[in-house]
Amino acid sequence: MCVSLSLCLVRWSRYNPYYLDPDPSKDARVPESELSPEEKELQELKTVSPIKAALSSDTSSAFNDPLISKFINMMMQDGNKILARGIMTQTLETIKRKQVEKYHKSPAAKREEIECNPYTVFHQALENCKPIIGLASVQKGGKSYQVPVPLTDNRRRFLAMKWLITECRDNKHRRTHMYEKLSQELLAAFANEGNVVKRKHDLHKMAEANRAYAHYRWW
């Protein structure tokens, strides 16, 4: 007997700036004595101001990782969240399997360096893929120049994820599964090798080559 889910969408797409984000974690409730004055102010604010509706993907479970959720959303095509989530879990499983195999094959001295937790591997690989300086096109005197520009954290995270996904979709063998391609790319990025890290380095090199135009920025 299958039960059909009818979700009633409550979250708006645009909220007034004074609405606060929901915090689904279970240990958000801390006793009064342990709070510093700023945190007490924050608690006061939370009791008074309205809070946005929570997304259906927000959970209070220990396995809820916002970075992984964002990556799943970016991988998702045509709203097929189930497929994207399945690919993600398979990727993490493949990473774990490969790392454990490596662990058992390596001598005792090198065993401590091998990271088996797929979540830390994912986070570290993403950090290694994030560019530090980006390029922006600035028009000056009829000509447009590529100017090196600092990027916001969100933009850097987005670029790293986008590069990973496009790299796996376009530049790999057609017959391998996405989770296989992703696990290979993530493990390579974890070791600071692979095409995505190379792309980041290329961007840095372009920025370094154009450092003379840095003053064309006005922000």
Partner: protein
């Protein structure tokens, strides 16, 4: 005082009693609560020195980010400060 005098004059300009009305306003004749913003002064590029330090470090160490971590973190702090400043300024203006 002079406010009511002005209102009477405006009423006369809008009325049809003395021939055709002189004014035919499309929006209500009332001042807005804010003034139009002056053209922004052209600012300069922020954090150029930090950026040049990072790039010099990269050139020396072949774009190795683990070696240049100090310069990179200094760059990030500078960027954050500049962002907060720009946000604060925007908040007071807007």
């Amino acid at each position: 005082m002079s406010g009511s005098v002005v209102q009477e004059k405006v009423a006369k300009l809008l009325s049809r009693q003395n021939g055709k009305p002189v004014l035919r306003p499309i929006k209500p004749l009332a001042l807005k609560n804010e003034v139009a913003s002056r053209s922004l002064k052209k600012g300069e590029a922020t954090c150029v020195t930090e950026m040049s330090l990072v790039m010099a470090c990269w050139k020396l160490n072949d774009f190795n980010n683990s070696v240049c971590s100090k310069e990179v973190s200094a760059f990030y702090t500078c960027v954050e400060k500049a962002q907060n400043k720009a946000k604060g300024k925007q908040g007071t203006q807007g």
